[in-house]
Amino acid sequence: MRAYIIRRFLTLIPILIGISLSIFLIMQLIPGDVVSGMLGIEANPELRANLEKKLGLDRPLHEQYLSWIGNAVKGDFGKSFRTDKEIFPEILSRFKITFQLTVMAAVISWIIAIPLGIISALKRNTIIDGIVRFIALLGVSVPNFAFATLSILFLSKVFKYYPPVGYAGLFADPAKNLKIMILPAIILGAIMSGSIMRMTRSSLLEVMRQDFIKTIRAKGASEKVVLFVHALKNALIPIITLIGMQIGSLLGGTVVTEQIFSIPGLGQMVLTGINQRDFPVVQGSILFIAFVYVVINIIVDILYTYIDPRITFKVGR
């Protein structure tokens, strides 16, 4: 087990190298650079040269990469070109916010999706099933920005409500924090729930078809036991895989929601960074997001081994 976990973490290294290299190259390839961004219409060759020197952009590429990655390994992601602030602490504080949003959204989506998925599976091919599946598909097919805009409009016009402006940390001011986070979390959660609902339904149906369910019934189990003790646990693996992937992709996918609700999360940071061509910020945060994503996947893999004794500690996809 320990060996397995260590091995899983070792697989991280090439992936992170791959990501750091590609993000570094992408940033080089993207037209536009921080210098012209910062100087705007005032740019002239002399100003450019001054600024490039100041930011260290006059060094050869491989040198820039190596010094960046070398420091990153030590937890030093450098300083923002724009604000000259240390990036790593900033990433961490932003990550807390995005992570909170993600977790809230995930929990909300489970609350919505799993019971509905179960009902839909149990009432297979009935009207209820039809309605639930339709709702789930809506969730899958509505772009979240449209949903978010509609909610803002609806709440402000009909209920005269808008979440408080000015972000407050979860621990600094829990009440305000929740007021700010709940609406975007609901929106993200609702959208996420579509696919979880579908997954719950289909994997539950799959499990219910299996032979051992008959054995359990033959032992005299009530349907409740069949469903909640055995079927659900067996159906969990694909659901967890999906949840893991969703949580992972939410970390970078909350961009749109964060922007609409002015939540100072990691997504906003990356987006601002991209727009401003603030290379260290973008590189650092993408690397961090990727790192968390892979770690979440590893955690999911480890979770499997707790749920499913058949899954041995082998590296696989």
Binding site: L137, L251, I274, A290, V294
Partner: protein, 286 residues
């Protein structure tokens, strides 16, 4: 063209199966409608999509403008109809890119295992670990924003999913005895892959493709929202929807029309995918 006849026969069989299933029927009809709209756009549209009626900005639906007009005074109905073209094109071409590359990579990784597998899946893992919308954003930024590049970006972003699905099915097909049988009659690897492996992973692959189509349409919408989707004045549903946000209050029809079409299309593709899974699957559980 023996395989072609077979293919047509297979398709006919699948469509028959779909028509038998209520869900499949709805999905198929929905998809057909979108295709008809896209193909017949010039005939169905009532106005030129770029013509601006400065006097009729943001007008609600009327006999003249069936779905109203937008902030430039352009006819929303006609733009929606032509939007079907763009959205469908984005969907089909980007899925075409990701499906083709995912298919090839997935087969190579799954069939050869070992180092090939390690390298291919390593790259896929790297792609996967990028937040997808940001990756798409990067790619569009690098290549420059236009229709083609948007499709390429969406294609690249959705390649890993295909590769994984294909690889997983190849691995399961590979354990089938008919693959060993093919080896035992002396077929070369290439031939085995083409004749025996590839045709047998079509089912999960097709299902994945219908689902990817809908996510491509959505991704395009999100890219448009971030300002990097389809370039004006090409009407794509995603860009229409994201442009309409500002007027959601003033001119809700601007948002309703593209939303309804996006939802309808995605719904149809998903229903089709769901039903396809049912139609294609049992045969493969042999």
């Amino acid at each position: 063209m023996d395989w072609f006849k077979t293919l047509i026969k297979e398709i006919a069989k699948v469509i028959k199966g779909l028509l038998k299933d209520k869900v499949g029927r709805i999905g198929l009809i929905g998809v057909l409608i979108v295709i008809v709209l896209a193909l017949g756009a010039p005939m169905i549209a009532t106005h030129d999509v770029t013509e601006m009626f400065a006097k009729s900005k943001l007008k609600p639906p009327s006999g003249d403008f069936l779905f109203g007009t937008d902030d430039f005074g352009r006819d929303v109905f006609s733009r929606i109809i032509f939007g079907a073209r763009v959205s469908l094109k984005v969907g089909i071409i980007s899925v075409g890119i990701s499906a083709t590359s995912g298919f090839i990579l997935g087969i190579l990784a799954g069939y050869y295992e070992g180092k090939t597998d390690g390298i291919i899946m390593g790259i896929m893992d790297v792609l996967f670990a990028f937040p997808s919308i940001l990756l798409a954003l990067f790619i569009v930024s690098v290549l420059g924003p236009n229709l083609t590049n948007t499709m390429i970006a969406i294609g690249i972003v959705s390649t890993p999913v295909f590769t994984r699905t294909v690889r997983a099915s190849v691995i399961s097909v590979k354990s089938m005895e008919y693959i060993t049988s093919a080896k035992s009659i002396g077929l070369s690897s290439i031939r085995i892959i083409l004749k025996h492996v590839a045709p047998n992973i079509l089912a999960p692959f097709t299902v994945q493709a219908t689902l990817a189509l809908s996510s491509a349409i959505l991704t395009e919408a999100s890219l448009s929202f971030l300002g990097l989707g389809i370039q004006p004045p090409n009407p794509s549903w995603g860009s229409m929807l994201s442009d309409s946000r500002k007027y959601m209050e003033l001119a809700p029809w601007l948002a309703i029309a593209p939303s309804a079409f996006i939802i309808g299309t995605i719904l149809s593709f998903n229903l089709l995918g769901d039903s396809l899974r049912d139609v294609l699957d049992p045969k493969f559980k042999l």
